[in-house]
Symmetry: C2
Subunit: 154 residues, 2 copies
DNA sequence: TGTGAAAGACATCGCGA
DNA sequence: TCGCGATGTCTTTCACA
């Protein structure tokens, strides 16, 4: 697929804001008929520009009262150790995101738990249970100031 | 709305994985008919358990080659300064997430930009242009190890 | 590429158990 | 609360400009 044009990008913006927007709605806003909208979306899905559609749930209502970002420094940095750590971390359900980062730490984890006690249990029983964990520094989210899934594609 | 039961949670799991899953598909998996699925989803939408539906786009394909987490320490911490910083940050399109955190810094920003130069420009022209910015420490994402939007609701 | 129309699938809403 | 059936809407495809 070629690069996206302005129309594709406007469609993406609308779908990021509302994944259930109908082709008809989009066509109406863009002043086009339904078919080209349908075909453009299909192509962007096939080309991977649109990776998925998802329902966004409310963390608080579902009882995940505590979100923490957890910076981790490993002791050993050989390839085997990194791969081992990554596969172990990926299997922890509390960890929704994990990045290998460049900076003062090796990995950054985003952790969702019910409360502070659950976070303590996560650190003590799961994270610290892994070999090779060096320094760990946690930041607790007190207030989300901004959260948007969408990227400014236009 | 009362608390979610096991069926609601299974529905949420499916919708988090695929926001376009049809009621028919879900009904089939859960061994129920379409109507109760439809009504349960409707109730979860109205009660706010489901906040939105969104298309998930591919950052890399769209040219956002650099993701950075940026820890910010402010100089002044009076209410007015915090509110001013938050409203200014929220208007920056590079910032997809911003949290007021407890820990070694005051705020954590997630920043999406095209490349390192764009990040430098963001820091120099936008972030540093704000009053009241003290210490700033950035971590660059080298490799996403795990990324999931969904929460383990079951 | 885009438009318009037609067929099929789905969401939505009564009614009954 | 759930299951079934009717209706309107959307998706999907096809012929054509």
């Amino acid at each position: 697929m070629k690069a996206l044009d302005a129309i594709d990008r406007r469609i993406l913006t609308m779908l990021q804001a509302n994944g259930k927007a109908t082709n008809k709605e989009i066509a109406g806003v863009l002043g086009m008929s339904i078919t080209p909208i349908y075909e453009r979306i299909k192509k962007m899905e096939e080309a991977g520009y649109i990776k998925a559609y998802a329902a966004v749930v409310d963390r608080d209502l579902l009882g995940f009262k505590l979100v923490a970002y957890c910076n981790v420094q490993l002791k050993e940095h050989s390839k085997e150790y990194l791969e081992q750590f990554e596969s172990q971390i990926a299997s922890l359900e509390e960890v929704s995101e994990c990045y290998h980062i460049a900076g003062m730490f090796d990995y950054l984890l985003k952790v969702h738990v019910q409360d502070v006690e659950a976070y303590r249990a996560f650190l003590a029983d799961k994270l610290a249970a892994l070999d090779n964990i060096g320094n760990v520094q946690s930041s607790f989210v007190m207030k989300p100031v901004k959260w948007q899934l969408s990227l400014p594609v236009e």
